[in-house]
């Protein structure tokens, strides 16, 4: 949010609405109504003085009504822009009342009671709709008593309660008596997966299962003495990267009990205000009335109320659920029926965070095709560099991070301590140092007090150092004179139970930071030319989508595919859910588009080696060598090959879902397996998924795939039984298909991993499957002509290992490539200029893979659309006078950065190519003469930290 707010090419219009829209892609005219804020954005500094003086107290929407705000307020702590707004409905300044408290208190004279807003005309090339969702109104289900009973909250309310800066400061209390609850019930699918009007929407809201599991773990962490957490669910849908593993970890919590069953009603005990949950446990068939202290309703996601108006203005359609209709013709989830208008995130249906982020980047790539290229940076502003040559004057800034830090560490004591450290000239603390306000505070104090080193005691430098460094740069302080101390992730979060010791530790950490800061030296970034081209490895849907996207933007693209033809897994599929597109057709269209484009597609080609760095990679393939600026890994995943599970290999008629797909493909619609039309088919789910030994993760694609295949078979008159652990039909229209399958008479029976279905048969044919029906507690024999195993998605070991070896991109515990950030960087890797798309980072369906292809294209374009790339200056350098040319560094560096050169006639010394040096500093640790300096991690800096730590303990 902050990055968007401070980007020179992004203008953020809040409190605004699109009212008129005309034209066509590349040339739209949009009229935006900017509603009055009653506070001048240019003048307001967000100091908050007006809030103190405002006499009106109303419920705070951001705290879901559980906290209070004033009539003049900032919507939430990290709001961008950090400008206050007056709620004129509740304000006491109107034609009858004349309160002017805020106006009087404002030093900047920013209050405008007569603000009438404005209409802004925008000339744009494309539009991205990212308007999100609304939360289902839980009071619409009267039998759950939300709004009637005190101690029934929604998941959104619990999120605020759990939040350290929320209305209860992170303490979990019952609204009725403010006591810590002993037993909490979580009720899933409130407003989701409903049937009939009362129950809400028919689709699955997707996020609520993981949200509830996470909340259970957080509740336990906040209140360790909690006695029982009951989670009532239909299917536990942990379908996403790492989600299943998270769910499995939650099973180790003795307090947490999962109960399969949807409560019929909730009642309140009028005396104690306890809650009774009436539920049938469908695994035991027992109907029960369970007393809990508090109930949390997992309210689902519904289409935003404003969607119809916006759709009307944009001239696009809504689907039957009120979300924006996706034009499924392209297979991608980003297109609307109107060219130049794209959708992402929950505007088009329910998505989780990482998919929304991928779609956001993907939509940006789509939009870029219609945008005239303008330079990314605006005119460089000449900033005069501050003189930092004098003795160190260190400023220490302490962040509260709400109560993430301040709730554990004693900030006053830290402040007092920091002031006592030699060379510290100024100490300040702030609620959110990374907020606009916090950054401005830091900048002002540096200038005001003439500070020449800055230490921030806050969160991790891995995410926030760039933010702080940029703020330093804006005022002319060299960003490498900034040092970050991680007192949140590595102190307050992990030593929560021992606040005094944690505070002492934080003091020492600050002392170390200051010790290093004293010896920091200004460093200057260099820029190097970029080869404006991209290599895409893997010609499946994700790779082709990325290639086409980049080609449409006029970029040079090499697309290489190991197999003899493009198309990837699409070549082996028949039809693609949810739109029932022909996979063959989709593949054909994409392959033809690639062939018609300028993309240099090379089938039957493999990468043999890659060297270089962002902007300048040298690629060696079996089909020639070339140079590119960026690389996208889109090599997909493998399908688990069953060993001997469920009679696979023993019985001829036990096949995998992929083999069934081939059969359905070959028979062109007529259902015949090896010449016979089968009468009974049994599917077994989670083969090679959700199993600690073979693949701990959920493969996500198999449930919807089984539904698709089951419907296909059922429609031809086959009796279909699906044996599953949880039906995880998440994703667009998957739940609707699941419902349809049930309506068609597909039978669904649940099994548990403790009691796997047993496939029995004679000779080499399976004839029946034994399964323990849980509610009946009886073993059922299901006759079968075919058993289909839903094989999971696993990393493509050979290609993934090889690429990891070549590119050094890390892989996660599941064997898939690891993203830079599981939520916020789903297509980026830790290596600059190397991106991921599709199943190479974890199981995905075709729509998600396409979105990721587009997302990777957007990331690639952000690098190769420029002529140069900035290099980090934190490399190693060699002091030639100390070098005796032993060539140890030359021999050891994997990047070939050092080389021996003649520095004077007859005098040789090593020199480091800074474009090649990655700054690991290994050569500096090996250099026998100490000639190599690892900038920003120098011997002097590290030694001074050791001195500070060990010679002078607190």
């Amino acid at each position: 949010m902050m990055d968007a707010g401070r980007h020179p090419n992004i203008e953020v219009l809040t409190n605004s609405e699109l009212v008129r829209f005309e034209g066509r892609a590349g040339n739209f005219r949009a009229t935006v109504k900017k509603y009055p804020r009653y506070v001048d954005e240019a003048l307001c500094t967000g100091c908050g003085q007006c809030v103190n003086d405002c006499p009106v107290i109303v419920p705070n929407e951001f705290e879901v009504g559980m906290g209070a705000r004033k009539a003049i307020y900032s919507p939430f702590p990290q709001a961008v822009p950090n400008t206050y707004i007056i709620d004129r409905v509740n304000c006491l300044n109107d034609q009858f009342l004349v309160c002017t408290n805020c106006q009087k208190s404002c030093d900047r004279d920013a209050i405008r009671y007569d603000d009438i807003g404005e209409e802004i005309e925008l000339h744009v090339g494309a539009v991205v709709v990212a308007t999100g969702f609304d939360v289902y109104e839980a009071s619409r289900i009267p039998s759950y008593g939300y709004g009637l009973y005190h101690n029934v909250l929604t998941n959104m309310e619990l999120e605020r309660v759990l939040n350290a800066s929320g209305p209860t400061r992170g303490h979990i209390v019952r609204p009725s008596d403010h006591k810590v609850p002993k037993k909490i019930a979580f009720i899933q699918c409130v407003g989701s997966r409903g049937e009939g009007k009362e129950a809400g929407c028919e689709y699955c809201s997707r996020f609520c299962c993981m949200n509830a599991v996470k909340d259970c773990m957080l509740v336990k962490q906040h209140e360790p003495d909690i006695e029982e957490l009951l989670l009532f669910y239909i299917d536990l849908r942990a379908a996403g990267k790492g989600f299943e593993e998270f769910y499995q970890r939650s099973l180790d919590m003795p307090e947490l009990k999962y109960i399969r069953g949807r409560p019929s009603k909730i009642m309140e005990d009028p005396e104690t205000k306890d809650i009774f949950v009436y539920v049938e446990d469908v695994e035991t068939g027992k109907v029960d009335k369970i007393r809990v202290s508090m109930a949390i309703l997992s309210a689902g996601a519904v289409a935003a109320a404003a969607n119809p108006d916006l759709a009307n203005v944009l001239g696009i359609e809504l689907d039957e659920n009120g979300f924006f209709e996706v034009e499924t013709r392209y297979g991608s989830p980003l297109h609307t029926a109107r060219q130049g208008v794209y959708i992402c995130g929950c505007a088009a249906g329910v998505n989780d965070v990482s998919d929304s982020v991928s779609q956001g980047s993907g939509a940006a790539a789509e939009a870029e095709k219609f945008i005239e290229k303008i330079p990314v940076e605006t005119e460089p502003v000449e900033i005069k560099e501050l003189d930092t040559s004098g003795p160190p004057k260190v400023g220490v800034f302490l962040c509260h991070c709400g109560i993430n830090i301040a709730g554990v560490l004693d900030i006053d004591s830290l402040k007092e301590y920091a002031e006592s450290i030699p060379d510290v000239a100024y100490v300040e603390n702030n609620l959110f140092l990374c907020s606009d306000e916090g950054q401005r505070l830091m900048q002002n104090k540096v200038v005001e007090h003439g500070l020449n080193r800055v230490v921030a005691a806050a969160c991790t430098p891995r995410t926030h150092e760039p933010v702080f460094q940029e703020s330093c740069e804006q005022i002319g302080l060299n960003p490498y004179l900034f040092e970050m101390v991680n007192v949140r992730d590595q102190c307050s979060w992990v030593h929560t139970g021992v606040p005094e010791i944690a505070t002492e530790k934080a003091k020492e950490m600050i002392k170390l930071g200051v010790a290093k800061a004293r010896h920091l030296q200004p460093l200057y970034r260099k820029s190097i030319p970029v080869n404006q081209s991209a290599l895409i490895i893997g010609g499946g849907v994700a790779g082709m989508a990325a290639a086409l996207e980049l080609d449409a933007q006029g970029m040079k693209v090499y697309l290489i595919e190991k197999e003899g033809r493009l198309g990837g897994r699409l070549n082996n599929l028949t039809r693609v859910y949810p739109a029932n597109l022909s996979a063959f057709e989709l593949a054909r269209v994409m392959v033809e588009k690639v062939k018609a484009s300028r993309v240099e597609a090379m089938a039957g080609t493999e990468v043999t080696g890659i060297t270089g760095y962002v902007g300048n990679f040298d690629v060696a393939t079996t089909n020639g060598n070339f140079k590119v600026g960026t690389i996208v890994l889109a090599t997909g995943a493998g399908i688990y090959e069953p060993k001997d599970e469920f009679g696979y290999g023993k019985f001829d008629n036990v096949i995998t879902n992929q083999e069934l797909e081939d059969i359905l493909h070959d028979t062109k619609g007529k259902i015949q397996i090896h010449g016979d039309t089968p009468k009974n088919v049994v599917f077994i789910q989670c083969v090679g998924s959700r199993d600690a030994e073979t693949n701990p993760g959920c493969s996500r694609y198999c449930c919807p795939t089984t539904i698709k295949q089951a419907i296909r078979l059922r429609e031809s008159g086959v009796n279909v039984t699906v044996l599953h652990r949880d039906m995880r039909t998440v994703g667009a229209k998957a739940e609707e298909h699941y419902r349809r399958a049930r309506e068609l008479g597909v039978k669904f029976l649940r099994y548990t991993p403790q009691r796997l279905p047993l496939v029995t048969g004679k000779d080499n044919r399976a004839t029946s499957v034994e399964i323990l029906e849980l509610a009946l507690d009886r073993i059922l024999d299901v006759d079968t002509d075919y058993v289909v195993l839903a094989a999971g998605m696993v990393p493509n070991e050979a290609s993934t290992a090889k690429l990891q070896d070549i590119l050094k991109v890390p892989r996660g515990a599941d064997g898939f490539f690891m993203e830079r950030h599981a939520k916020l960087g789903p297509v980026e890797t830790t290596s600059e200029g190397v991106f991921l798309a599709g199943c190479v980072s974890g199981p995905k369906d075709i729509a998600d893979s396409l979105a990721q292809g587009s997302a990777a294209a957007a990331k690639v374009a952000s690098i190769i659309s420029r002529d140069t790339v900035n290099l980090e200056p934190t490399t190693c350098i060699i002091e030639p006078s100390l070098c005796r040319a032993c060539s140890m560094c030359v021999d050891m560096c994997e990047y070939h950065a050092p080389s021996l050169v003649d520095i004077a006639p007859g005098l040789r010394a090593a020199q480091i190519n800074q474009a090649l040096c990655k700054g690991c500093g290994t050569c500096a640790s090996w250099c026998p003469t100490g000639a190599i300096v690892a900038l920003h991690f120098t011997d002097q800096q590290i030694n001074s930290m050791l001195d500070a730590l060990l010679l002078d303990r607190v």
């Binding site: 962490q221 590595q490 139970g497 021992v498 020492e508 690991c920 011997d939 050791l946």
Partner: protein, 153 residues
């Protein structure tokens, strides 16, 4: 988790508080320590982290200096083999560490006081367990003979 916190509390009563320096590489181990934070994996607070870009950066000199100044234990932590952001930096760290161990032995210190470990960015749990275990081990060994001002609490 609660048990661990209690253990940490108990230690503050009258037991020896070890003075431990941890060198963590930026890409794996430091990120793993952050991951422990994100997952709120509580662990012993009796260590101080110095971030380096790579475990290969840690010269024997840094470790010896730490011991000379009275550290009771030193942990060097990098990426697992094959995971190194700099390809083979951790292999170089192993070579350096062999020299380090030789010198630590020469100093007459117990080799249990110094350790080289691998923690990946995803291994917050491993980080927390490793720290608890190493702190426990050093606490058992007691103050280093070179630590002239051991701390008890």
């Amino acid at each position: 988790m609660a048990v661990r916190t209690q253990q940490a509390k108990k230690k503050t009563k009258k037991e020896f508080i070890p003075n431990i320096v941890v060198f963590a590489c930026n890409w794996c181990s430091y990120a793993g320590a952050d991951n422990a934070g994100t997952n709120r994996m509580q662990h012993s607070p009796h260590f101080r982290v110095i971030r380096t870009m790579c475990s290969g950066r840690v010269t024997p000199g840094f470790v010896l200096k730490a011991f000379k100044l009275g550290a009771d234990g030193v942990l060097v932590s990098g990426c697992h083999f094959g995971d190194c952001h700099y390809i083979f930096g951790n292999y170089k760290a192993v070579e350096q560490f062999e020299k380090t161990k030789g010198l630590v032995k020469t100093l007459g210190l117990d080799l249990k006081r110094v350790r080289l470990e691998w923690v990946s960015a995803a291994e917050g749990v491993r980080w927390a367990n490793l720290i608890d275990e190493f702190v426990g081990q050093i606490a058992e060994l007691g103050p280093s003979p070179l630590n002239h001002k051991p701390k008890y609490g």
